[in-house]
C-alpha cells in the first residue's frame, strides 16, 4: 500500500502552499517573524480550505529545530515528527469524538506540564464546535489564563456554534472558499507534477464542482484521472462528475428562450422515460431558474454567491438573454406547480402544463402588461375625474378634450389586446371584438338577466355583485362599480371572476374582461345603487354653486341611462325597493343633497 491519495500527498507543507488564503498566511508569517504569537487561534471556514493544514504548518514553524521562523524547514526531526503526528507536544484532538467534559479536564491537567521536546506545546482541536457546553466552559478557563508556551488552535466549520466567550478569547481567522482561477492554477500544477495532462476546461468544471474546497477538488481530480489514464478530456470529466444531468436543464432554458414548446415537451418526455422522479425534476428546474435570477441580478461582477451548478458560464449567458420579469414569472409558474404536484396523481401532466406555460411566456407576460395598462387607465380615469372637478374652479375643461386623451389611451391598449388574441392558444374567442359598438348601455340592459343567471351559478358572487353596477366599458373591459372593498376582494378572486366573465360572454357574445372598482361614494354606498353618477361624491363644498355646470359637463359623458333620481322620489328604483322591503309608503320627502342621504 504505497498509494497515497492526492489530497494527502499534496497537503500543504509551508505557508506558500496554502493557496487562496493570502490574508491569513501573511498575518501568520508576520506573527512568527515578530514573535507576536497569540495564545489561542480560531480557524474557521468551509471544508477543504486549509484550516488543519494551516494549524500544522503553524505548529511546525513554531517548533522547527532551525528556530521559530515563518518558513518551517520540513526536514528536521521535529518537523517530520509533526507531519507524522508523533511529537508529544503537538496534540491533535478530534473534538467530535472527545467532546465531553472529562476529556477537556484531562487536557487541562496536562496543559500545566511544560513541553518536552518542542519549544511550544500546541493543541490543535479540530471540529471544536462539537464540544458540549460544559466542555466549552472548562476550556474557557484554560483559555482565560493560558500557561506559558502553550498555544491553542481551534478549527471548525461552524463558528456560530461556539459560545461568545470562547470567540472573544481567540484570534479568529476566516478561511475563504478558494477562488476559481486560483484553484485551477493549483490543480494544474498538481496534475502536471503527477504527469497527467488535463484539459483546462475539465479543470474548471472540477474546480466548480468542488465549491471552493481543495480537498474535494483533489478527490474529484483523482477520480477523473483514474478513469482516464494519461490525459483527461472535458467530456470524460463531465461523464464522471455526472454533469450530463445538468444539460437537460440548460436545454430546457434554451427551449423557453426560443418559445420552443415542442422541444420543451420532448425534454419532459425524456425525463419521464428515464424514470426520474418528476416532482424532484420540477424542484430542480425551479432551482435552475432561481439560479438564473441570481445570476441575472449579479450581472458581470463575480460575487461569492452560492450557485450549486457547474455549468455556470452557459447559465450566465442564458441569464443575460432572459428578462427579469420573465424569470420571475417562470418562477411563479414553477413554484405553483411544485405545490400542485403534492398529491397529484398525474405528475407528468402537471409538469407538461408548467412547461407549456413557461414556453408560452409572452402570453402570460402580455396579460401582466394588460393588467398594468388597465391600472394606468384606471388612474387616468380617476385623474380625469379630478380634472373635471378642478375645472369648476378654473376655466371649464371640455369633456371633449378629455375624451381625446381617453381615446388615445384606449388606442394604445388595442394592439396589446390583439396580441393577446394571437397568443391565446384556443380559437373560440377570436371573433373580432368591436369596442365601438358595445357600450355601457348594453350592459345595463342585460344586467338584470345577468344577475339572475349568476344567482343560479354562484350565489356568493351574486350577493356581492347585487349592489354593484356596470360603470364603463372600454376595450373589452367592463368596469363594475362595487359598494365596498370586501365585495371587491372577494370578486377579484379568479373563480367568481371567471364565472362572471363566462356569463357575460354568453349574454353578449363577446369576450369580456371584468374589472372591479370601488364606488367612490363609499359613505353612501348601497344607496346610490340605482344609478346616480359616481362623480357626485366630489367635494361637497363645490356642490351648490357648481350644480348646473356639473350636470352639463358630465351628463353626456356618461350617456346616462340612469335617470337622476333626486328630482322625483316616487320614480326612484331604490326608494321603490325600500318601500317594498319595509312595506311602507312615501308620506313626505325633502330634497336630499347630492352625495346621498349620509353623504354630506
Amino acid at each position: 500500500m504505497n498509494y497515497v491519495s492526492l489530497y494527502r500527498k499534496w497537503r500543504p507543507q509551508v505557508f506558500e502552499d496554502l493557496i487562496g488564503q493570502d490574508h491569513i498566511t501573511r498575518t501568520l508569517k508576520n506573527a512568527l517573524k515578530s514573535g507576536r504569537i497569540s495564545h489561542a487561534y480560531l480557524f474557521c471556514g468551509p471544508r477543504g480550505t486549509g484550516k488543519t493544514s494551516a494549524a500544522k504548518i503553524l505548529a511546525k514553524a513554531l517548533n522547527c529545530e532551525k528556530g521559530t521562523a515563518p518558513q518551517p524547514c520540513s526536514q528536521c526531526h521535529i518537523c517530520r515528527g509533526i507531519n507524522k503526528g508523533n511529537i508529544m507536544d503537538v496534540l491533535e484532538i478530534d473534538a467530535a469524538s472527545n467532546r465531553g467534559i472529562d476529556e477537556i479536564r484531562e487536557l487541562r491537567e496536562k496543559v500545566r506540564f511544560g513541553s518536552t521536546q518542542a519549544r511550544f506545546k500546541v493543541y490543535i482541536i479540530d471540529e471544536v464546535h462539537m464540544l458540549t457546553p460544559e466542555a466549552f466552559n472548562a476550556l474557557l478557563k484554560t483559555l482565560e489564563e493560558p500557561p506559558e508556551k502553550v498555544i491553542f488552535v481551534l478549527a471548525t466549520t461552524e463558528p456560530h456554534k461556539l459560545p461568545q466567550t470562547i470567540l472573544s478569547r481567540c484570534q479568529r481567522f476566516d478561511f475563504h472558499r478558494i477562488g476559481l482561477p486560483i484553484m485551477v492554477e493549483g490543480l494544474s500544477k498538481i496534475a502536471s507534477q503527477e504527469g497527467v495532462n488535463v484539459e483546462e476546461e475539465a479543470l474548471k468544471i472540477i474546480a466548480r464542482s468542488s465549491e471552493g474546497g481543495m480537498r474535494d477538488a483533489l478527490g474529484l481530480l483523482e477520480q477523473v484521472m483514474a478513469f482516464c489514464e494519461g490525459s483527461v478530456s472535458l467530456e470524460a470529466a463531465k461523464q464522471i462528475l455526472g454533469l450530463e444531468e445538468e444539460d437537460i436543464f440548460i436545454y430546457m432554458g434554451k427551449a423557453v428562450l426560443k418559445n420552443d414548446l415542442v422541444a420543451g415537451l420532448r425534454l419532459v418526455g425524456e425525463v419521464a422515460d428515464r424514470g426520474r422522479d418528476i416532482s424532484q425534476f420540477v424542484r430542480d428546474l425551479t432551482g435552475y431558474f432561481r439560479s438564473l435570477i441570481i445570476l441575472k441580478i449579479q450581472g458581470e461582477e463575480p460575487v461569492d454567491l452560492d450557485i450549486p451548478w457547474v455549468s455556470l458560464d452557459g447559465m450566465k449567458r442564458q441569464a443575460e438573454k432572459f428578462s427579469h420579469d420573465g424569470l420571475m414569472c417562470i418562477n411563479e409558474i414553477l413554484t405553483g406547480s411544485v405545490s400542485e404536484l403534492r398529491g397529484s396523481s398525474q405528475p407528468r401532466f402537471v409538469l407538461e402544463t408548467a412547461v407549456f406555460q413557461i414556453c408560452r411566456l409572452e402570453f402570460k407576460l402580455s396579460l401582466q402588461n394588460i393588467e398594468s395598462k388597465i391600472e394606468k387607465l384606471e388612474d387616468f380615469i380617476l385623474e380625469r375625474k379630478e380634472g373635471v372637478a378642478y375645472s369648476y374652479s378654473g376655466q371649464p375643461l371640455s369633456i371633449e378634450e378629455n375624451r381625446k386623451d381617453y381615446a388615445q389611451q384606449s388606442q394604445e391598449l388595442e394592439p396589446v389586446s390583439e396580441d393577446t388574441e394571437s397568443f391565446s392558444l384556443t380559437d373560440k374567442n377570436s371573433q373580432p371584438v368591436n369596442t365601438e359598438e358595445s357600450s355601457i348601455e348594453e350592459f345595463n340592459k342585460i344586467w338584470k338577466d345577468f344577475l339572475k343567471e349568476l344567482h343560479g351559478k354562484d350565489v356568493v358572487a351574486y350577493s356581492w355583485l347585487e349592489q354593484g353596477r356596470p360603470s364603463s366599458y372600454e376595450g373589452s373591459t367592463l368596469t363594475v362599480e362595487l359598494a365596498n372593498c370586501f365585495a371587491q376582494d372577494n370578486l377579484e378572486k379568479s373563480k367568481p371572476k371567471k364565472v362572471i366573465e363566462e356569463i357575460l360572454c354568453g349574454l353578449t357574445g363577446k369576450k369580456v374582461t371584468v374589472k372591479f372598482i370601488l364606488s367612490n361614494n363609499t359613505e353612501a354606498n348601497g344607496i346610490e345603487v340605482s344609478g346616480e353618477e359616481h362623480e357626485s361624491s366630489e367635494d361637497s363644498s363645490f356642490e351648490g354653486s357648481l350644480e348646473s355646470n356639473f350636470e352639463n359637463s358630465l351628463g353626456d359623458s356618461c350617456e346616462s341611462s340612469f335617470e337622476n333620481n333626486n328630482t322625483d322620489i316616487h320614480n326612484d328604483e331604490f326608494v321603490a325597493e325600500v318601500l317594498k322591503i319595509f312595506k311602507g309608503k312615501v308620506v313626505d320627502h325633502e330634497e336630499t343633497k347630492k352625495g346621498g342621504f349620509f353623504g354630506v
Partner: protein
C-alpha cells in the same frame, strides 16, 4: 465609580481594602485585577499572598478567614473571589452578618476583590459597599469611548486607521473589548511594516460577530436598493443557520419603519421628534430617512404586502423558505 475611573485611581495608588466588581464588561474587570496585582503584590510571593476562589464553590467563612490572615513576608495579601453569589442571590442570615462584620472592619493588610456580573442594589450588603464607594461598575463602553480606545491602542502600535475603516471595525466587532483587542492585534500583525489600516484590510480579516449586525446590513442594502449586496448578505446570514422567518420579519419591520418615517417626514416633523415618537435612536432615524427617499410611498406599501405574501407562502408550505427569501429580494427592488 465606573471601571475606567477606578482604574485611574488604582494606578495612582489609591487602593481600597475591598472591591466589588460588577457589570458585564469582563475586559475592564480583568484590567482592574491585573493592575491591583501589580500594585499590591510582589511577584515572587504570589504563591503565599494571592488566593483565587470560586465564590459559588467556597464557603464564605473560609474566604473571610483567609482574608483575615496576615500576609507572608510582604506588606499586603490579595484575595480574589470570582462569581460571587452574595450580591445577587439570597444568602442565609449568618453569612450576611459575617460579611457585614468584615465589611465594617476589613483587614487593612488585605485587598479583597469580589467579582460578579449582576448586583442587586437593594441588599443590605451592597448598600454598605456603595456607601463606602467600594463598588466598581464595569459596564459596556460607549461607542465614542470605544473609538477613542481603538485609536489609542493603534497609536501604541504606531499605526493609523482611516475613519471608514474604524467605523467598519466597530460595526463588525461590536462592544466586546476582548475581541476588539484580539482583532486589533491581528490587524497590526497583518500590517507588519505597513502603517495605515484601510477599510479593505479590515473587511478581509475581520468577520462580523453578531447576527444582528449582518441582518441590519442586509435590510440596509435592501433600503439602498442594492440587490446584489443584499443577496450576498442573505447568503452569509443563512449560512449561519439563522431562521429564515426571523430574517423575513426583520425585512418586514424595515419596510414598516420606512413607511412610518416617510409619512412623518411628509408631515414636516423634525427627525428629533421622530426619534422620540418612534422610540428609535437618532442615527437609525437618520438612516431610515435617507433610505425612505429612495422609495415612493406606493413602492413601500407594495414591498410590505409582498413580504406579507411571502410569509403566508412559507407558512402554508407553498414556497421553500430559503428560496422564497431570495425571490423576495429579487422582486422587491
Amino acid at each position: 465609580m465606573d471601571g475606567i475611573q477606578a482604574l485611574r485611581e488604582i494606578k495612582k495608588g489609591n487602593i481600597e481594602p475591598v472591591y466589588l466588581l460588577g457589570g458585564t464588561n469582563a475586559f475592564i474587570k480583568e484590567r482592574i485585577m491585573e493592575e491591583l496585582k501589580k500594585k499590591i503584590l510582589e511577584e515572587e510571593m504570589n504563591s503565599f499572598n494571592l488566593d483565587t476562589y470560586q465564590g459559588n464553590k467556597q464557603s464564605l467563612g473560609e474566604i473571610l478567614s483567609r482574608a483575615e490572615t496576615p500576609p507572608v513576608l510582604s506588606r499586603k495579601r490579595m484575595v480574589i473571589v470570582k462569581e460571587v453569589p452574595y450580591f445577587k442571590e439570597e444568602i442565609n442570615e449568618k453569612d450576611t452578618e459575617k460579611l457585614i462584620n468584615y465589611l465594617e472592619n476589613p483587614s487593612p493588610s488585605t485587598c479583597l476583590v469580589l467579582v460578579t456580573d449582576k448586583i442587586d442594589k437593594r441588599k443590605k450588603t451592597t448598600k454598605k459597599l456603595f456607601l463606602k464607594k467600594w463598588v466598581i461598575e464595569c459596564n459596556p463602553v460607549k461607542e465614542s469611548d470605544l473609538k477613542k480606545w481603538i485609536n489609542q491602542k493603534l497609536r501604541q502600535e504606531k499605526k493609523e486607521i482611516k475613519e471608514n475603516a474604524l467605523e467598519l471595525l466597530v460595526k463588525l466587532v461590536g462592544n466586546d473589548l476582548h475581541q476588539m483587542e484580539n482583532e486589533i492585534s491581528k490587524l497590526c500583525t497583518y500590517l507588519g511594516e505597513d502603517k495605515v489600516l484601510t477599510e479593505d484590510t479590515v473587511r478581509a480579516l475581520v468577520s462580523a460577530s453578531s447576527l444582528e449586525v449582518s441582518i441590519f446590513s442586509l435590510v440596509d442594502n435592501i433600503g439602498k436598493k442594492n440587490k446584489k449586496e443584499a443577496l450576498v448578505q442573505l447568503h452569509s446570514i443563512l449560512k449561519q443557520n439563522e431562521p429564515p422567518l426571523k430574517i423575513l420579519t426583520m425585512i418586514g419591520r424595515q419596510f414598516r419603519l420606512l413607511i412610518q418615517v416617510k409619512k412623518h417626514l411628509e408631515s414636516t416633523k423634525t427627525k428629533r421628534e421622530l426619534s422620540s415618537d418612534m422610540k428609535l435612536p437618532a442615527f437609525v432615524v437618520n438612516k431610515l430617512a435617507d433610505q425612505a427617499e429612495k422609495f415612493t410611498q406606493e413602492e413601500l406599501h407594495k414591498a410590505l404586502i409582498r413580504t406579507h405574501e411571502t410569509d403566508i407562502k412559507i407558512k402554508t408550505g407553498i414556497l421553500e423558505p430559503h428560496f422564497s427569501l431570495e425571490l423576495l429580494i429579487a422582486a422587491l427592488m
